[in-house]
Amino acid sequence: MREKIQEIVFNSTKEFFENSDYELTTSIDNNLRLIGDSSPLDSMGLVSLIVEIEESINDDFDVELVLANEKAMSARTSPFINLETLIIFIEEELKIIS
């Protein structure tokens, strides 16, 4: 399942940067930072990317996952550090609802 999630996350991220004013200077891989100084996104860009990924996941897995939820926001370790932590978080969430 992780490979499928990774593919969806990478494709959505690519599409997001291609169609947005946010500039990506690194490649799209697991290490792409989503928060912090080295992230190419501000808080609104992050939320928009997460919503984009959420919709793709929901369409592909036919679920109603809410990624930017209370649990994610209040987690001691943010699931939004980079694409890898996001992918792991999505996998865990999908396991919970399946």
Binding site: F16, E54, N58
Partner: protein, 284 residues
């Protein structure tokens, strides 16, 4: 009509006021043309020191709007505010050239929406003299300190970020910022929510409403409907409008965001719980 109008408020004689409105201290509603049609619907809050100056034309406010303190509304051509509109303190809404603010629009503090620009002397050759209709479509959110120029149209559910100064039209579902304001590509502030999930949210909020505000409320969750009952007041929440509408029942319809109102105690209390930022429904 169950309105709560402060004795210091001054309201012109040709103003028709619905019911359950709150009109605060020193509110001024002036009509300079006795033929102007001026109407205020139901359940509106017009807070202290709001001034509504109707020089000419018609002025209309629907239901469930909030206009906060010290805001100035001017009308000459027309000024129409539909339902569920929120206007922050010290804002200016100018209907000199015609202004329409549609359902669910939110206008942050100290924002100004203009429909005219006229002050330079004609004798000196000033040609900046415009009065054009400005239209703010449904569910637009203009954050604090925004300026919207005359003749502008902002499309459905677009968002103007803090301090935007808008001189050109904006399409639907866009986010704009800056001076002069431009669209920020890629920002998406709404996620898709299925009708089924909307029903679940309404059910959850009904339960929360019962526990906080109304212990005696009965909640029944049938197929595709949530029913709330308090004494003789009843509310039906449904995805689509039922084929048979029962008189004196309130209906909240998820698919088209409409509601059939009765203005019952339960409807008003429950809607007050919802309309800040949970869910808004419009009455036509």
């Amino acid at each position: 009509m169950n309105n709560n109008i402060d004795p210091t408020a001054q309201i012109a004689k040709n103003v028709k006021i619905g019911s359950h409105n709150h009109i605060g201290k020193n509110v001024l509603i002036v009509s300079k043309n006795k033929h102007s049609q001026i109407s205020i619907g139901d359940n509106n809050i017009i807070n202290d020191n709001v001034r509504i100056i109707i020089n000419d034309g018609n002025f209309e406010i629907g239901d469930w709007n909030i206009i906060h303190n010290d805001t100035l509304l001017i009308s000459k051509d027309y000024l129409k505010i539909k339902n569920n509109v929120w206007v922050g303190q010290n804002s200016v809404l100018d209907g000199t050239g015609g202004l329409t603010i549609k359902n669910g629009v939110r206008i942050g503090m100290q924002s100004q929406i203009w429909s005219h620009a006229k002050t330079g002397e004609e004798i000196e050759g000033c040609i900046l003299n415009v009065a054009q209709p400005t239209t703010i479509e449904d569910e637009v959110w203009i954050q604090g300190n925004c300026l919207i120029g005359s003749g502008i149209s902002i499309g459905y559910r677009s968002i103007g970020l803090l301090g935007s100064v808008l001189h050109q039209n904006i399409n639907s579902n866009k986010v704009f910022k800056g001076n002069p304001a431009k669209e920020v590509k890629g920002l998406k502030m709404y996620r898709k929510v299925s009708e089924k999930r909307k029903m679940r949210l309404m059910m959850d909020w009904s339960t929360e409403f019962k526990s906080i505000h109304c212990q005696d409320l009965e909640i029944m969750n049938n197929d595709n409907q949530v029913k709330l009952k308090l004494n003789s007041d009843e509310i039906i929440i449904a995805i689509d409008k039922p084929s048979k509408i029962i008189k004196n029942f309130t209906y909240f319809i998820i698919s088209n965001k409409q509601f059939i109102k009765t203005n019952s105690f339960l409807e008003r209390t429950f809607y007050k719980f919802l309309y800040s930022n949970k869910a808004r429904f419009n009455y036509n």
